[in-house]
């Protein structure tokens, strides 16, 4: 088991807020949000259980009831932004939930730290995702410089 953290920057956790929004839309009868909520929940449960495997591969593909492709790529290294990774829940329609994270060991425990997420619709590399990658990289540096501040939270 690993510990999942939704990084707070300036008191706000963007990824946690994003998931809360998806849950709220699902509760308001948005059918796409309901399906996405199921898959995010499933993907996070799997990631929590197995953590980051040594071969850095956690990909699985299936089909939705209507035959559309569904892909869980729970660990996709962002090669140009090492050591950042993506947690991707891809659906043919309406798109993909992409959350940027990194993995680290702190005091003998594995942490997965989510930094930013976007909902990708259409463009495979939207400007908002590029911005999220840049911001995530900057936050990673801040955490690396002061891990206790971000990871050493007490009860």
């Amino acid at each position: 088991m690993v510990t999942i953290i939704y990084l707070k920057d300036n008191g706000e956790s963007q990824v946690a807020n994003h998931i809360v929004d998806i849950a709220r839309m699902g509760n308001q009868r948005d059918s796409n949000a309901r399906v996405l909520a199921r898959y995010i929940r499933q993907g996070l449960a799997q990631l929590t259980k197995v953590g980051v495997p040594s071969n850095k591969q956690l990909m699985m593909t299936s089909e939705e009831d209507n035959g559309d492709l569904r892909t869980f790529n729970l660990l996709k290294p962002l090669t140009s932004r090492y050591p950042l990774n993506e947690f991707r829940i891809n659906r043919s329609t309406p798109g993909a939930f992409r959350a940027i994270f990194f993995e680290c060991d702190y005091e003998g425990e594995q942490f997965i730290v989510f930094i930013e997420s976007v909902l990708k619709q259409g463009d495979s590399n939207p400007p908002e995702f590029q911005m999220a990658m840049r911001e995530s990289e900057a936050l990673y540096v801040k955490i690396y410089e002061n891990p206790t501040f971000y990871l050493g939270e007490d009860d």
């Binding site: 953290i5 699902g26 495997p53 593909t61 089909e63 939270e153 007490d154």
Partner: protein
Amino acid sequence: MKSLNKQHEDLMKLLDDVPGVEDHMRSFEVQMAERILERRLQIGLTQTQVVDIVREQGGSITQATISKVECGDATVGSDTYNKVLKALGGVANLSIEFGELATNSNAALEYKHA
């Protein structure tokens, strides 16, 4: 660290409250997906290596099918589960914990016994 864990747990509970999520997470195929993925990684196999083991055991399966199993695909049949589970060491014990009866099941029981 407890507050960090609590944030994740609270978020998972919030998702569970979305209609359909809890049923999805409790479905047979999703629970099997979780257990099979965990077991495969625990013994350090890739999906392709599981394919090879199934073949060595006289069966036939594709990597795409194993991917479907680990994704919780509802169309996966018992024959496929048997092949994958055998390749991963076989099932020594299968324990099922039942949940509460659904409200409509209680109503049906009351009607039957009335």
